[in-house]
Amino acid sequence: MREHSGRRLRVLLAKLGMDTHTVGITIIGHALREAGMEVIFTGLKQTPEMVVAAAIQEDVDVVGISTLSAGHTRNLPRLARLLKEAGAEDKLLLAGGVIPEEDRPFLLEAGVGKIFTMGTDTRDIVRYLEEWWAERQAAETV
């Protein structure tokens, strides 16, 4: 057994509203765990308010929202705004799932850090997070 200590990337994964499709978020959770990250699941039917409260209690670095049943143009900007109001805008907000091309500029403008669409290879998500994390740590130690 290896010794594991030191800083470890913590990622909260959640689904908002009545969307109950959990296959994608489960696969991503396991991929992040395999990459050595700590993944916190909050369950289904979360409101943006609940996600923000959990993200602060868990002191996560990343909040990932899986969205497969619309509602994203409403609740993702709301989540970004609530994170900012709570002083937690340094957390990276990721969105994944079914997000039409035409919605993406608006979401990125509204505070979503990165969007992964259906069919994204989990290795690409891991790589993106590792690079973001390396940059963040480099910035912290300056």
Binding site: M1, H4, R8, E34, A35, V39, M50, A53
Partner: protein, 312 residues
């Protein structure tokens, strides 16, 4: 330092960040503990442990509700296993506690074991101190699913609840299990399932043997039934917790346990620190020699600790 003052003021984000530092072994965490330690020792630490699948998270969720209804502010530290291979973890205990997420009187924190055996992480004790300093009246520590001897929580908690469930393991298993020798409150959860009566009888037998073996014990552990998913048994368990707390207060046991816990923590930190120092001092050559079988492990340890032994 700002964070320690904010922890003492009960600010959630500050407490959450302090726990991260302590979990990561960041030196800023130790600085926070130095500041807050004089203000700790007040919270009632309640351990919840039992085998995987016993419904510990659901029971914790139910208990949070019951303690809140009695006006207590409740912190929860929920420990889940980290992968021994990657160090990553899926921390899912709070899924069952989602209804308390927006309650400002509840703070739930998920922690990975990060290589520690015993059912807790190395940081769990410190996380309890932070929640204590934040003013939570009760701190519930939910362990990973445990087997027979992962009972570190017994040393950490003032009151430990052992959760059993029908249909797990045979009688011999239950009687020899170290887990049943510990604990102040016993709960058979999922009591609406087949096999409840048999499981309850096993617990009764075991508690009877325990009482015979320890006639000097002044607390008689209650055996309770629960169906946590339906909220059944909440009041009885909350009553038992309150009764045990009253017992501890009347016998001086509360302060005694808190004190012993801090004593143990010093020794645990010392072991960790000395191991790190010795390891750093060793470099790799001694380990290389053992790996190549030029040196045996005991001789290697004698060389590594030689100076220390003589001082002792």
């Amino acid at each position: 330092m700002g964070i320690a003052a904010d922890v003492l003021a009960g600010r959630i984000a500050a407490g959450a960040r302090a726990i991260t530092w302590l979990d990561d072994g960041d030196p800023r965490g130790a600085e926070v503990i130095k500041r807050i330690f004089p203000h700790t020792g007040r919270a009632h630490v309640i351990g919840i442990t039992g085998p995987p699948g016993a419904g510990k998270s659901t029971l914790t969720n139910m208990l949070v509700g019951a303690l809140r209804a009695r006006g207590q502010r409740v912190g929860v530290v929920a420990v889940d296993p980290s992968s021994p291979f990657t160090g990553g973890a899926i921390l899912g205990d709070r899924v069952r506690m989602a209804r308390h997420t927006l309650d400002p009187g509840v703070f739930i924190r998920s922690i990975g074991t990060r290589g520690a055996a015993g059912g807790l992480s190395r940081s769990t004790h410190d996380a309890c101190l932070v929640l204590d300093a934040m003013g939570f009246d009760a701190v519930i520590v939910e362990t990973v699913g445990v087997g027979q001897d992962e009972i570190d929580v017994v040393n950490l908690a003032h009151t430990t609840i052992i959760v059993g469930v029908p249909g797990l393991g045979d009688e011999v298993q239950a009687v020899k299990a170290g887990i049943l020798e510990a604990g102040e409150i016993f709960v058979v959860n999922k009591a609406d399932r087949d096999g409840y009566e048999a499981t309850r009888r096993q617990f009764e037998l075991m508690l009877h043997l325990r009482e015979q073996a320890r006639p000097e014990e002044d607390w008689s552990p209650p055996l309770l039934r629960a169906v946590a998913s339906a909220g059944e048994g909440a009041a009885e368990i909350a009553d038992a917790i309150a009764a045990h707390r009253a017992h501890l207060d009347s016998t001086g046991g509360f302060a005694l346990r808190s004190g012993l816990r801090e004593r143990e923590q010093v020794l645990a930190l010392l072991r960790e620190r000395l191991a790190r120092v010795a390891r750093a001092r060793a470099g790799d050559s001694l380990l290389d020699d053992v790996e190549a079988r030029r040196l045996d492990p005991y001789s290697a340890i004698e060389r590594l600790t030689g100076g220390l032994d003589q001082e002792g």
